[in-house]
Amino acid sequence: MTEFETRLDECLEALSEGRWDLDECLRRYPEHAAELRPMLLAAAMTARALDVQPRPEFAAAARERFLVATGQRLQEAMDVEPAPAFFAAARMRFLLAAQRMKLGEAATQRAARRLPIFGSPMRALAGGMAALVLMLGVSTYTVASASAALPGDWQYPIKLETERVRVALAFSDGAKINVKLDIAEERVNEIEQLAKRGRIIGPGVLDRLAAQTQPLIDDARGGGWQPGEAARLQKVSEKQQEVLTMAAGQIAPDAQANLAAVTDVSKVAQDVSKRILFFANPHPPVVLTPSVPLTATPPPTSTPETSPSAESTTPSSPQPSGATTTAPAGGPPSVSATSGGIVISATPVETRSNVRLHAVTAGLLSFLVPGSGDGWKLVDAPSHGVPPLIKFSNADDTSLIVISTVNGDMYWYIGKNGRFDEVQMRITKAGGVFVADRNVLRTAYPDTSDIPWYVMQSIVLAVPATPTATPTATPTATATPVAATPAASGVLTPHP
């Protein structure tokens, strides 16, 4: 590009943006003025000549056709017939819009108040048609005032129809999801308002909440949800449960089954959204609890499995028979009390995936952890007694394992970039012991979840020495050589 061409570009751009005028261009580049002037003039003349305006009649008619077309999308989406009525509705909208502009707010309010009189003819129309007439014809005011309506108000049906229109008009899947989430949120806001006003909440109200939430669950399970959408579903479902709990006293007697049903739906929604979030972002900025779905199948709690699977490799194992290297049979390994009532074996008792695992005993609890040779250390241990929680962390403090000495529950905190995820590895619930799903863990934390998994698998909680002690709690020599050692049981605080 020649220097002249560069100057010409510069002048054309400046002219088109209105920064310079022609004189300014010529003043800036006097050396090119003679050539610039005719070219810039030609450009300006062309721009002026092309500055044509559409005929007003065309502009008005085309606008109306366009707006009708926006409605036709709605028509297609809702499968509404017939078309002539549709056009009539569109025209009505414009007439009313014009009326609004001329007559202002007062006229619109009068029109809105007249609405109930039209109630029966409107009901005579197909549902979708009514929605259209409501949206297109009755216009913004009524829709806006209906948006605050609660179940039982006369505008409430308008509100529901308006919502259907919003869903039908949403063009993209993402937009539809967001509109549906808006509506699910609105349903719960309504229940909250009803409860605050002391109204009795009937089965229909609860069913509508469930009916708005269930499709979101199905949709979310179908895949394709963005984390933002899942986060909204989580928020909405949490709010639902909160409000349902709050409103429990005002649920009509005949609606108790509906309450149970909608509560279940809401919980499923919460689980589904959490699952999406977990997979979408394995390192969320906040601690998630629980973030890994727990499997309902309890692991052997008295005998850790000595897994022969391929994941356990023991190239250094002196024993050819299995993947797990155990302590020498026939006696406990040498132990060294490192902190109060927590006893850690001085030598590794097992090797899995090249990680040497040491046996830890605290009270009735015993488990295996990587030793100091692999950079792991006991943290926050009291000088005496058995703490409620035992914590081990790795060399760079990016992985923290926390185990309850009371019930053997285990949490794993995985740190990254100054943030921590909390993963429930092993949780005791009414139905038994639940553990994290191995495959989910590996998907989310492919490089770091093996060690916590081994630790979790090795957790043994001995049954206290009571007359009703069961034989299932008896540890086997191969896997848990240090379980329930006499030394440890001496410092145990009896648990309820």
Binding site: D9, A34, L36, M45, T46, D51, Q53, A59, A62, V179
Partner: protein
């Protein structure tokens, strides 16, 4: 030449709509609402862009009747496509003129005709600005200018339409046409030089620069 703020004012001496139809943040929120099917937002977009799309189409096809049909078609296509519009790809203005560009390309393919029919443009499309003439332009009617622009090769005419009729920047023009900015600049040079030769033939000047 009076000092005026804008390109077109150089000749017309009349305020013309700014190249930016609306503030970017307003456009953004409106487009986002339109994507969710908000009818008012769609109407706003239509109102902002229809005159510009019409100008573009007229500059491309010349024939006002065709231009009206094509303008409507552009907005119907826009309606069908806006759900898939993504901010990260192109500015909304480039996006909508890309649709217009495609509509016209399809139109040309269908009719197997290139431009032509320029004579149908008439003075009544101008909105009667009184001080149209100046010392230089007196003898040139707007009709002649438009006829000259219709004689440009198609690629050049397209750039002129987006740059001068619509007012897109070089960058947005490039995005609308899916070309590089350098390419757009080169086409603009050639077009302006040709226009100057046709419109102000005695001036010599830059029209000959490229041949040096």
């Amino acid at each position: 030449m009076p000092r005026m703020a804008s390109f077109k004012n150089e000749v017309a001496g009349v305020d013309v709509p700014s190249y930016q139809a609306v503030a970017p943040d307003v456009e953004r929120t409106t487009v986002d609402r339109a994507r969710t099917g908000d009818q008012q937002a769609l109407a706003d977009i239509y109102d902002w862009y229809m005159p510009r799309v019409y100008r573009y189409v007229v500059a491309r096809v010349g024939n006002p009747a065709e231009a009206e049909d094509l303008t409507e078609e552009v907005f119907l296509k826009m309606l069908g496509a806006i759900g898939g519009f993504r901010w990260r790809e192109v500015p909304f203005s480039s996006w909508i003129f890309r649709i217009a560009h495609n509509c016209i390309a399809t139109h040309y393919r269908k009719t197997a005709q290139r431009g032509g029919a320029t004579s149908e443009l008439s003075e009544d499309m101008l909105d009667g600005r009184p001080d149209l003439a100046t010392a230089v332009e007196e003898r040139i009617t707007m009709e002649e200018v438009r006829r000259a622009s219709q004689m440009l090769p198609d690629a050049q005419r397209e750039v002129i339409a987006l740059r001068f009729a619509v007012g897109l920047s070089i960058a947005d023009t490039a995005k609308a046409l899916g070309k590089r900015e350098g390419n757009i600049k080169a086409l603009q040079h050639k077009a302006v030089a040709k226009l100057q030769k046709m419109l102000i033939p005695g001036a010599g000047g830059a029209g000959t620069v490229r041949e040096r």
